[in-house]
Symmetry: C2
Subunit: 581 residues, 2 copies
């Protein structure tokens, strides 16, 4: 037997028990006559004590020979500690060790196994198995487990069935790039790894499973940004005989349950906002509504007054920065530089200071008088002491830039409360997006998303104006999930493929099985998928999803620990009937 | 709102309620004046009734226009049924329909959606989404869900953490063939799909996670037999600071829990049998111990009596078939033909009848007298009326053939109780297997399995004799799971690779990260993995795992429903820097 207790278990009630513990040497303090060792396992830390005046010399020698991260087994007596440590649950006791066994020695680790480590990202990733020993990282993985558990128990309680869909499926050109798998048994043919189980979950609805979920790995061969992984995990769900609000209510319930049980936070009802409103008021389809600073549009007030920049712009809009009228020239220049960076992309910044004395000072005083500026201020609901910041140009670019500026000002002015979680349903997305390059429409969500019933007619006449019965869940400005009510009618699905420029042959080749399935009694259905890695990061209060994945890949899609991907043998290539170009 | 209730929900207490149901038309009975429809969903069947004398003519017309598998919505009143159906939970009520909406029509399905269907395997697989509507198939998928749920809740309660390991990993030539995934971002390099998360779960132990589990997809590019799938699901587990019996006790607990909660069967303690005993007594490492007929070895009794076949055989062994002394010539010839089939592979069959009158009649009367045969009978513990069946030859082939004969006789004599579940731990497997063709040893389990401590020395001198600290769980003659205590010592792991004929370079190239990890305080650890598809089939009382997988592949690894694998575009090949041979 390696242990009678874990390192997180012993309490003052256990005093005088004979125990065996096993774990890792976290820290050794050697004060000459006395020696203490912090023994660590997943469950906690227990202090071992060696007293030179009482213990066997061999035992002391052995204890002195230990190094950090040695795996040891210690037998001894639980005693009450002289100086207690109120910060850890085992802080009232320690173990007087009578027997010590080295189960495995350890080289000196390449970085310290502490919450604040001296190891850089690259080194920690190469030795990820040591990085995972750090309590901060382990806690993330434990949080992930907890979120999985409670997601499942909630959905189980709502009569959802977890069904595994296949990983070896078929490549479809629509959407992102697929990872493919050459088939040895079918030379010249390939499987693809799923970007999502979308078609399978729809088939499960056609099969009558009614409520499906799966916490499932998905794959996308995309050029990776800091926060993307080639393999990622989704909470994937689908329901039959539901309207949009049935879906939203069910999953609002899930998210509330998770916040309540994991973070002990009770959330209010989630507000809904249309996509159009989100764009108009926040310049983004994932607004952070923890703070105000909504956009104010000024076109009707500012055009035709001789200021070329405004006259030539299709949109003039701004935000009101409370209490910033005192900004210096330098501060305003810095803000102007900020919005003119290529990542933000504004051409310039117009400001209007609403001075404490009621007067206005702006960068466009040449074109607008005090009365006009007062009128603007009224629109902004600005007060003396505020600063109005205005951008102008093409509507889409202007809104995007203003959205970045809004977030920046929100942070600068400490208007964003990090302890607050404000979920938001964004609804009524456009069904289609026009792509200038290929001169065709693409499905904004995916080709199975239904249009809002009142818009279906416009599919033929004005496809760009059709709204989808689609929804995203946004929390604190982060997109956590999204879904839609699906098309369940074969003819409508065909119409959608037409709008996307698929020939009937292409549609049949790629989605024939689904189109065919629609012929045999497909129920009305809809669903949602949540980015599980992102949800974990949100709950853990972190920006990067990588910290919440046990073995993540880097920005080149490499696992630097196992050194993958890697070349394979000529024999393997031959068996697969492929060769390198 | 599509429904107020499901089709499995309404009871006699609900009589006189106005309800809305949605579902599929299972059956229509039209008796002229009256029309009944069985409406089906996942939760059950509810009977709808249309009375021509009371209802609107349009409604009746609409009801008559429905076909099988139409998706409809029905509004109506719950009434008590005149002739009740005690076989279904909703059998006391029916719905007098006042409003009927066709949500989606259906073509006539290619086979009947009944438990006994007229559709053949191929057709059902092509239309798997319709096959899944059949209650027998749906029940299998629901059983699978239940087993997953309870596996998780048990392991959660034992402080196991579910951790997702990567799907895109690295190819290793050891073991079965890998599926590989070309990397676009790293041309010329490939990921591999995991055959199991073996190395990752060991790394998680080195990370200190202590108890890990995952219900996880694994992949093997093997030529498929009827009961193999290229992607399959494992319950994968690993524990630290454990001995073999800690692991066995934990997972005996899991299996007992599943039997108790899912099938309401209380299992006794699982017996343990060594691999050597299993082979000696049952001729297989997965004995079905629901019945006796253990092997009896006769070498010491039968050699040197002039019967060449026995004299030239390294093993003479048989089984006792109770009450079969009356077998006719024809029956005995049939048995002989059975064991001589190439799949069984025996050269011949020797029989000894123990007649009711106490005399013996055998196929070897020329060589053995009554006294000698009586002596054999004593060894067999045979009684008058029994029949002894004896095979001879090379030990391994003879045992294999006798094992097949034993199962055949067990079935023939109705000695196998199908309602009984008898689990068995088979332990102390050989560590290594010699392969004549490549003239080297292979790991019987995998290269990370530890030898039994008392055998480690023999690794250098007599590797074939070394026993592994490995175990399989066998239930009713089916291997359900297997595992081992792992090597946690770098030097021992190196020794193992030496025995397997790996050069240090090869070992480092393939498993360098694991060998390296052993340098930094690897704890003693061990684990187990269960074939989840197989476990589901066992619980469902079926032989084929395919019935328990929502979307299985056929024997050529094809998904005939989505028609995958399939060719990919030249553009995709180019991006991946590969071409066909």
């Amino acid at each position: 037997m390696y242990r009678t207790h874990t390192c997180g278990e012993l309490r003052i009630e256990d005093v005088s028990k004979e125990v065996i513990l096993s774990g890792w040497v976290q820290k050794i303090r050697d004060k000459g006559g006395m020696l203490w060792i912090d023994l660590r396992d997943r469950y906690g830390i227990t202090q071992l004590i060696f007293d030179e005046s009482k213990a066997d010399a061999g035992l002391i020698r052995k204890a002195r020979s230990l190094g950090r991260e040695y795996v040891i087994q210690a037998t001894g007596n639980v005693i009450e500690r002289f100086s207690k440590n109120p910060n850890i649950p085992t802080g009232e006791i320690e173990i007087v060790v009578s027997k010590l066994t080295v189960l495995n020695p350890s080289k000196v680790p390449p970085f310290t196994i502490e919450n604040e480590t001296d190891g850089g990202e690259d080194l920690r990733m190469k030795f990820r198995y040591l990085d995972l020993r750090r309590v901060v990282v382990r806690k993330n993985i434990q949080l992930r487990h907890k979120l999985m558990q409670h997601t499942r128990s909630y959905l189980d309680s709502q009569q959802f069935i977890e069904i595994e869909t296949p990983v070896l499926i078929k490549s479809t050109p629509e959407g992102a790039r697929d990872f493919v798998v050459p088939s040895r048994m079918n030379p010249g043919e390939f499987y693809a790894l799923p970007q999502s189980p979308q078609t399978f979950k729809q088939l499960l609805m056609i099969s009558g499973f009614d409520k499906y979920y799966q916490i499932v790995k998905c794959f996308r061969d995309e050029d990776l940004r800091a926060d993307r992984q080639p393999e990622f995990t989704q909470i994937d769900c689908e329901m039959s005989f539901v309207t949009r609000d049935d879906v939203l209510n069910t999953f609002e319930g899930l998210i509330k349950h998770l916040f309540s049980i994991v973070l002990n936070i009770k959330l209010d009802a989630f507000p809904k906002m249309t996509y159009d409103d989100a764009i108009k008021m926040y310049g983004t389809d994932k607004p952070d509504i923890r703070f105000g600073m909504k956009f104010v549009e000024l076109n009707h007030l500012v055009k035709g007054k001789g200021f070329q920049v405004f006259d030539n712009s299709r949109l003039i809009a701004g935000i009101n920065a409370t209490g910033c009228a005192g900004y210096s020239r330098k501060q305003l220049d810095a803000l102007t530089d900020y919005v003119k960076r290529p990542q933000v992309g504004a051409k310039g910044l117009v400001y209007v200071k609403y001075n404490e004395d009621g007067t206005f000072k702006s960068s466009v005083d040449k074109f607008f008088n005090q009365e006009q500026l007062a009128n603007w201020a009224e629109h902004f609901q600005a007060k003396p002491g505020d600063l109005m910041l205005i951008l102008a140009g093409d509507p889409s670019a202007t809104r995007t830039a203003l959205s970045v500026l809004r977030l920046y000002m929100g942070k600068t002015l400490n208007q964003i409360d990090n302890r607050k979680f404000l979920p938001l349903w964004v609804v009524d997305f456009p069904l289609l997006e026009w792509d200038e390059e290929t001169r065709r429409y693409y499905a904004m969500h995916h080709p199975f998303t239904s249009a809002k019933p009142e818009d279906i007619e416009k599919l033929d006449t004005d496809p760009g104006e059709v709204k989808a019965n689609a929804y995203d869940l946004v929390i604190n400005g982060v997109e956590i999930g999204g879904g839609s009510i699906r098309i369940h009618d074969r003819k409508l699905q065909q119409k959608m493929f037409d709008a996307l420029g698929f020939t009937e042959e292409e549609a049949n080749q790629q989605f024939g099985f689904l189109l065919n399935a629609f012929n045999y009694g497909a129920p009305p259905h809809g669903g949602i998928a949540f980015g599980f890695d992102r949800l974990c990061a949100l709950f853990g209060g972190a920006d990067s999803i990588r910290d919440f994945i046990a073995f993540p890949k880097n920005n080149s899609g490499r696992d630097v620990m196992i050194d993958s991907p890697a070349p394979i043998s000529e024999e393997q290539l031959k068996e697969l009937a492929i060769k390198m170009r």
